[in-house]
Symmetry: C2
Subunit: 240 residues, 2 copies
């Protein structure tokens, strides 16, 4: 059997090189967009509509949607919430369709959307996602959201975790140096994400904003068994 590919793309800026070659794209923004989306779907939110710009987010707000909007780690003024996963765990959101726009994560989702399948990855849904990916017999690329088109440590480690898991099945191979490096970084970090990521620039950025609880939550693997999937421009719960 021909092995399938598992690769890690570090930023949306690098994605042109990978685009079109992979049936499944896993979009990752550990701190905090994809962790928040997993929490929302796990909480029973019907769908999350990812939008790239604040203008689109405002248009949805005018139509009566609940809208989360974050830039530079902070809630954008006038919106209902930012991208703290805790905001998406509220009981009143169950069954609702909500809208989300973030600095990096929703942009990555929109860049990926021409792929056959786009799923949402985070450390919080790591194992269930890897198990599902392993069964698909498709080529997989992890698209890290990065920070303004720059490499980011926590997304790369999550991508490396997915790569390492799939490579271990024996049915996948990685050809790109970025994937090999991500796997090694994951192996270095895996016994203590929180300690390892002390050095992460975005963690420092969020810590300044007193978001340590959010960070701890986002760096705690396997808290939920949902796989959010993009369908017709909305993120829903994958039935698997």
């Amino acid at each position: 059997m021909q092995k399938k590919l598992i690769e890690v793309c570090y930023t949306p800026a690098d994605y042109a090189y990978f685009k079109g070659k992979f049936e499944i794209v896993v979009v990752i923004d550990v701190l905090r967009a994809t962790s928040a989306i997993c929490s929302a779907i796990n909480n029973g939110v019907n769908s999350v509509i990812p939008v790239s710009t604040i203008e689109e987010a405002k248009d949805y707000q005018k139509k009566g949607y609940l809208v989360g909007a974050e830039r530079q780690g902070e809630i954008v003024e006038g919106f209902d919430f930012g991208n703290s996963p805790y905001s998406y765990m509220k009981p009143e959101l169950k069954g609702k369709d909500i809208v989300l726009s973030t600095t990096n994560g929703t942009r990555a989702i929109n860049i990926a959307k021409e792929a056959e399948t786009v799923v949402i990855g985070a450390l919080t849904n790591l194992d269930v996602l890897c198990e599902w990916l392993a069964k698909q017999d498709k080529n997989v690329v992890c698209l890290c959201s990065g920070w303004k088109d720059n490499f980011n440590l926590e997304d790369t480690i999550c991508g490396g975790a997915i790569a390492e898991n799939l490579l271990r099945t024996g049915n996948f191979a990685s050809n790109e140096d970025s994937s090999v490096a991500a796997k090694y970084l994951y192996l270095t970090a895996k016994d203590n994400y929180f300690g390892f990521l002390k050095a992460s620039s975005h963690r420092r950025r969020l810590k300044k904003l007193n978001l340590n609880e959010d960070i701890k939550f986002c760096l705690t693997p396997n808290q939920m068994d949902v796989i959010p999937v993009l369908r017709n421009d909305r993120i829903e719960k994958l039935k698997y």
Copy 2:
């Protein structure tokens, strides 16, 4: 004393983010352009003129220069040599001005050239370069040549080695995740570059071309004590 910055930029495509903020740029293309340049300068070549395009290289050839040109790992037809370090160790090159154009390395040098100081880094001149950088009291960015604007393992490890060396002096700091990751990758690789880089895509590419001797040479640290420096569009020996 304010600490100076040491950062690692993975590819020329990422360099826009770093440009202008660092007095010293270290250009790295371990396999093989910057390793070849170190060998040339160590061999007593008077200067290496880096040119980006084959057309420029041909113009120099018409003027009587010896010209090296490499694309995709192979010598471009009609030129005197490619970018094997061994080609630059020949006694007849001593005192000459030679020209070099490569797939990634010379492009990175030309992108960096607006910086105050551009020096050439490789594993072969690692320690002497780090000692010199540590004494300058300047901000340093390592510009990895990558492979066609993609992340590459061997250049990142070399950048990580420089970062780790400078951070250890206590006079430098890294703010970017790319630098932190490069340092960790170096620490994972440092006891066995050759083994670690078995997984490197470019090493596989060169091995197919029977360039294993070149690879071994380029991955053997501290073989020479030269620091090539860019001055008036020519790379010469830095007097330090």
